[in-house]
Symmetry: C2
C-alpha cells in the first residue's frame, strides 16, 4: 500500500497525516474515537506533515473531544528510498490520543 493510499484511512486506529487540511484528519480521529472499537487513536506523520499532526491533535482535544488526553508522543527518524536509488532520512512523529469511555 502506498503512502497515498494509507493517508486518512481509518480501518485501524492509526491516522496517517499528509498534506490535506488539518480538519480532514480531525474528523478521521473523531470517527475512530466515537466508534465502539477504539478508545485510542494514533496520528502518524513524517517531515513537514509533523506540524499538521500536532495541529490535528490539538484541534481534536481542544474543540471536539475535550475528554481526550495525550497518552504518548514519540519522535523518530525513518529512512526513505528515493527515486534515484539513494536514501534520505526524514523525521517522524506518533501522537497517541486516548479517551476514557463510560461502561455500558
Amino acid at each position: 500500500m502506498t503512502d497515498e493510499e494509507k493517508e486518512g484511512r481509518a480501518d485501524t486506529n492509526i491516522v496517517y497525516v499528509g498534506n490535506k487540511p488539518p480538519m480532514n484528519y480531525v474528523t478521521a480521529v473523531m470517527a475512530l474515537l466515537n466508534s465502539d472499537e477504539f478508545d485510542e487513536v494514533t496520528l502518524k506523520a513524517r517531515g513537514n506533515a509533523i506540524s499538521r499532526a500536532v495541529d490535528a491533535a490539538e484541534i481534536t482535544r481542544n474543540r471536539f473531544v475535550t475528554n481526550a488526553e495525550i497518552k504518548s508522543i514519540k519522535i523518530g527518524t525513518e529512512s526513505l528510498d528515493r527515486e534515484d536509488g539513494r536514501t534520505s532520512n526524514v523525521s517522524s512523529i506518533e501522537i497517541c490520543l486516548t479517551v476514557k469511555k463510560s461502561n455500558k
Copy 2:
C-alpha cells in the same frame, strides 16, 4: 524580547526554533549540552517550525550527541495576537533532551 530576537539564543537552556536550517539549532543545542552549566536542553517551536524542531532533536541525538535521550515531549496551543487585532491559535511543541554527564 521579540520572537526574532529570541530565536537561536542560548543564554538559558531553551533553544527557540524558527525558520533557519535545522543545523543552526543543532549546534545551539550541542553548545548547551557540552557546557558545564546544563545537562538538559529544551527545543521550543510553533506552527510550521515544529517539524524543524523534531529534525533538530533527531539530528542531535542520532549524529552528534548519541548519549542524549528524549526526556519529554509536550504539545500545546498558544494564542497569538495578530496585527489586525484578532487572535489566532497556533500549535506548539517542547522537546526536552537530556544527557547523563560523568562525575568530575
